[in-house]
């Protein structure tokens, strides 16, 4: 039987992981990072927000974008789920709706990296909610 991964292995990996984290923490004051909040309430989850969030985290790493991912509650845009709020340093946050994997890639490569606007922006008249 092949050996199943365990927490002991994680402990052994710790040093290697720590160095990665240090690099990140040096750059870390949250204002300098891209912040992405994924709406993760019943409506978001049912529409596939979890899978989009996982995909986006992966993609951001591939593209070398330093981003902080958090989840948030329902912003009241249940009709447009999955939705996410993207805050690029120095800019007003934008909310995107109907985000699938392709749209997520587009947001990262076009909006975050180049500042181009992409389809699916929900006009502002909302307030960020903490939960």
């Amino acid at each position: 039987m092949t050996k199943v991964k365990s927490l002991a292995d994680l402990k052994a990996m710790r040093e290697k992981l720590q160095t990665n984290l240090d690099v990140r923490e040096k750059a870390e004051n949250p204002e300098s990072l891209v912040q992405i909040k994924v709406a993760m309430a019943t409506c978001g989850i049912a529409a596939g927000a979890k899978q989009v969030m996982e995909h986006m985290m992966q993609k951001a790493e591939e593209l070398g974008i330093q981003a902080v991912f958090t989840q948030t509650g329902c912003m009241g845009y249940c009709h447009a789920e999955p939705t996410l709020e993207v805050r690029v340093p120095g800019k007003e946050p934008l909310v995107f709706g109907h985000v699938d994997n392709d749209r997520a890639d587009e947001i990262l490569t076009k909006y975050v990296q180049n500042g181009e606007l992409v389809e699916g922006i929900i006009p502002v008249n909302y307030e960020t909610i903490d939960k």
């Binding site: 199943v4 927490l7 402990k11 710790r14 019943t42 989850i45 509650g73 329902c74 912003m75 009241g76």
Partner: protein, 182 residues
């Protein structure tokens, strides 16, 4: 919800919103007893009997951004479609216990889906909460305790992609090893 793991995610989010410091999830996946049973226990703020009586009404929610709350109504419907059911116990200040179950081999029972990914996403987003997740099959059981993870990480944040990926693989492999339903 198309997958049971998404229901679990959604309903455990209720516990995190109830200011819990400890949330336990126990899944009993038994082919022998033909039952798929889920139990979510938290020590959060609980519900009053009045609120609990209305809680499976889709027009009941604590949210302020919208007037509907579908988490519990959806799971209730899904279990009832699969010859199962749900039960809820709660006491103000003590916490809430939610249980729901399905006939394991029911035609309409949704698949489990990505439980490992769900667990990791949930715990890495709520690092201040202690989660204990137990999965019991006919053969064996697997326990995932975030206190142990924190100890192994020695103060590092779980919300890091390489750690998330590792934990996800670890949970998935362990679940597979005990014969968990996919």
């Amino acid at each position: 919800m198309k997958e049971l793991s998404l229901h679990v995610y959604d309903l455990m989010e209720n516990s995190t919103a109830a200011e819990s410091s400890l949330i336990k999830l126990t899944i009993t996946d038994s082919i022998v007893n033909n039952k798929f049973h889920f139990k979510i226990e938290d020590n959060g703020k609980g519900m009053t009997p009045e609120f609990m009586a209305r809680v499976t009404d889709p027009y009941t929610t604590t949210r302020t951004t919208r007037k509907v709350g579908l988490g519990l109504p959806l799971i209730k419907m899904n279990t009832e479609n699969c010859n199962g059911g749900m039960s809820l116990e709660s006491e103000v200040g003590k916490g809430t216990t939610l249980q729901f179950w399905f006939q394991h081999n029911h035609w309409d029972r949704p698949p489990m889906g990505d439980l490992a990914g769900t667990i990791v996403m949930l715990v890495s987003q709520h690092e201040d909460i202690h989660f204990v997740i137990k999965y019991v099959t006919d053969q064996d059981e697997f326990v995932f305790d975030t206190d142990e993870v924190k100890e192994a990480l020695g103060g590092m944040s779980m919300n890091d992609l390489s750690i998330i990926r590792y934990l996800k693989e670890m949970i998935a492999e362990n679940l597979k090893a005990i014969g968990a339903n996919e």
